[in-house]
Symmetry: C2
Subunit: 509 residues, 2 copies
């Protein structure tokens, strides 16, 4: 191990992500500021990470109060905490060995929490049956996904297994599949139709994969990550029929199911749609769906818990999932208990009901208003356009990059959108995500790229981030435009104010 | 995925552990009892798992109080909690993004906690330098080990990398190495010399590995898992020189470092010994040491946190550890903060100091007294003998099994010690660990096997478990003895009382 030659070649082949590079740069800048460096900003704003609490969003009091009591049972007698909080904590502690969150749990999670989750799913899906035995709790949905794809991998020397994955897709998905030895089979979402999943494109992708790998699964996120699109029932039905015909396992990433805000949009799970289709489908199509404590309104990324539900999967096969989950020992118990609270919020009449309801409504309102505001703002910027987002916590605008940027990127050997993000961070102290980390680079034209913005942040933070992004974007456009195309001060102010000059502005570039 | 044929062959090759089988059986028995089945016992006692809280040991109040406040910051103003608890929580929250335990942390952990750990190590090791950059926090020490061995694995088609591992070794280590594609190179610990690590045996093992794999590391646990032995400084120096000569990375599992109770025993870390050796060694020998929140006095298994320190490891190599740790996103934040508390206990003068000190002393006293008591008891049982244990939370007695058991085991295709454990559970409702899960089966004679007992449990629990184990053991011996060798009632009572008839009893079998 004394030289790089001795690192596992598969590990050596992993490339650092542009996201990691931006975060390191941000840490360096923050350090420079703390050492007195003069910049045009006093702190770095992160609207890239999808980390609501890190950005300053508040936690849900009920969840934190119950967990505090579970950790410190002397608080069971603390009357400054609501009665339902203390009763709930007592009941949760009874499901832990030794009555302690310090005990191990089965590797698939506490039975009681799995049971609560199954009941939640049945309620959510209008009665479609769900069973505790099919629920696997893990330290976040990504861990569950890792276990599942590891099980699907082919043996050495065999044709590799493949997974159909959307482009764009969540940032870590390609690395995760690659690590497990699975081949990515990208299918493009149609941006101009609101990031629609198109059946023709699925067939094309599958056809293109023939010979290269044996496709075994199709991954979808709904609400879409990072696009914010929503699939309607008809689109889900199409995908289910496609999966059935092609004998693919459906991997439905539904972690943002509680963060749907688009007018007329409603979350309908793959499970529900499947169970309302013909019996020959509902009894046979293999579906695994994922949910998480980190995503959406809870936003409890630091507690590390999520789960998957396996539907129509062979029990013998899922036995190996149990075996694989032992490696991780179990999800942290505080996270497991928080999942129970997520799926069992306070009921009308409970002491915590009003506060809980207000906090959730406020979070949802912030998300919805922020998304609207950012969408208008981004669409007003020259060269930028953003499809309407309906759910999730990200916007994913496309932007036309000036030739000067694409040429500089080529000279530096980096993706042009990553360069844009890097300069934005250096000049204005704002981190946004580069589209290239969403498996988007290969498909993209050099001058037409994407950014990812997390909008579940406090409204002031978003406002400041957008203003800085706007300044940078206009300055860049100015610098790259012929002298007679500069923005006059008034137009500039209008653009930074929002959507007023949208059409004019975009026509000018 | 609709048939077992499509499961990754490497995953399909994983065998369920005897431990998992025992736990399932225990769950079934518990269910039967709850449904009214009549047994000679009313509940199953688990002295196998190494799960102190699960068995009823108490948590450390200071740790739980601080974590409760961190989760629920309204408690910062709760005067029923000690002042130092609230100040500590405030200070820890300042190190979290957004001041929330709900935020993501860097994948190697919060910088502040890594810094605290480095300072703790420097104090522990009499000034040997330690740096935050070399500390990697993970969701338990097993996760850190998994990352490290994955990095060490060879590529496809290359000679596999190997790791020297003790026999007996911790139960999941073989599966973990196997999963990463590394070859186990077992070296035997010498039981009759108190499970000593012998240099000749290390050379023999290395020689035997030639051609089969390329040995890259040697794993040791100190205090020993599951043997409870302690290496002295001289033995550690020998191993360090061996590793240096053979260019092996030292993997020092020191998770039970705070649980040393043997008379005259003292924990000395590999790091400290290395840094007090010649400079050509202290500057070059590659060492990774592991510690955990789950082990020893804290026993916080459910919070899922541990760490490793990398010493003399190439920075370029460790960069890949950072990359691999991203897969796990990060250790849960409550666990990370608990690590900070573990390495920074209250100081004299702090409001929590007295309680904390009493609780830790009580835990240590329980461990030490339990270990003594169990050791005497086990040595008094016919056919059983146990080396003195010095540290850790396990005893690992050897036992001579009656021919009837070994023959029955052979007929059933199970290991004889696993059968012993299964019958003990069925007949007396006690779970102890089977030696065969410690990589011990191949080396063992069919009639000479081992058991593992966790002794960090409440004293009453231990007493009850030992009584049941003794009854079962004597009954088994009776059933398998010729008629004139039965135990009379008085001898039987004496044996179950402890060490009085030790010699006689053992001579009789």
């Amino acid at each position: 191990m004394s030289s790089l030659q001795r690192v596992n070649p598969r590990v050596r082949g992993m490339r650092g992500s542009p996201q990691a590079a931006l975060q390191s740069l941000a840490a360096r800048i923050t350090q420079e500021i703390s050492q007195g460096a003069q910049k045009s900003f006093t702190e770095v704003i992160d609207v890239e990470s999808g980390d609501p609490h890190g950005a300053g969003m508040k936690s849900i009091s009920f969840v934190r109060q119950v967990l505090a009591v579970c950790l410190c049972p002397q608080l069971l007698k603390d009357k400054s905490l609501p009665l339902d909080v203390r009763l709930r904590a007592q009941s949760l502690l009874e499901s832990c060995d030794g009555g302690s969150v310090g005990a191990y749990t089965p590797s698939s999670g506490l039975h009681r929490v799995r049971q609560s989750i199954a009941e939640f799913i049945t309620r959510r899906d209008a009665g479609a049956p769900s069973y505790a035995k099919d629920i696997y709790i893990s330290a976040g949905s990504q861990m569950a996904m890792m276990v599942l794809v590891k099980m699907m991998a082919s043996g050495q020397g065999e044709t590799p297994a493949g997974v159909l994955t959307p482009a764009p897709c969540p940032p870590k998905l390609p690395m995760l599949l690659d690590d497990a030895g699975l081949t990515l089979v990208p299918y493009r979402l149609t941006e101009e139709r609101g990031w629609a999943v198109e059946l023709d494109e699925l067939h094309r992708a599958l056809e293109a994969a023939r010979g290269r790998c044996e496709p075994r699964a199709i991954y979808l996120s709904n609400p879409g990550i990072p696009t914010g699109h929503m699939q309607d029932r008809k689109s889900i039905e199409e995908v289910i029929r496609f999966a059935a015909a092609e004998k693919l396992v459906l991997l439905a990433d539904e972690v943002y199911q509680d963060s749907v805000y688009g007018a007329g949009s409603e979350f309908v799970s793959y499970k529900r749609v499947l169970f309302e289709m013909d019996k020959h489908l509902s009894d046979t199509v293999e579906l695994v769906s994922f949910h998480s404590l980190s995503s959406g309104c809870m936003g409890e990324c630091g507690l590390r818990a999520g789960f998957m539900e396996a539907v129509n999967m062979d029990a013998g096969v899922m036995h190996y999932v149990d075996t694989l989950m032992c490696f991780d020992i179990s999800a942290p118990v505080t996270g497991q208990l928080a999942l129970d609270l997520m799926v069992n919020p306070p009921k009308p009449g409970d002491a915590s009901y009003d506060t809980y309801t207000q906090e959730i409504l406020l979070t949802r309102a912030t998300l919805s208003q922020n998304a609207q505001r950012a969408w208008h703002f981004l669409n007003a910027l020259p060269g930028m356009s953003c499809q309407p987002a309906m759910g999730g916590i990200f916007l994913y605008p496309s932007l036309r990059l000036p030739a000067a940027i694409t040429e500089q990127a080529e000279a530096l050997g980096v993706e042009p959108d990553a360069l844009y993000c890097q300069r934005l961070l250096q000049e204005e102290g704002v981190i946004v995500g580069a589209g290239c980390q969403h498996g988007d680079a290969a498909a993209a034209a050099a001058d037409r790229r994407h950014l990812r913005l997390c909008v579940l942040v406090p409204p002031d933070t978003l406002a400041e981030a957008l203003t800085r992004l706007g300044s940078f974007h206009l300055r860049l456009a100015d610098a790259c435009s012929p002298p007679n195309r500069k923005w006059d001060a008034q137009t500039r102010a209008q653009i930074l104010n929002g959507d007023k000059v949208c059409t004019t502005a975009r026509n000018q570039v």
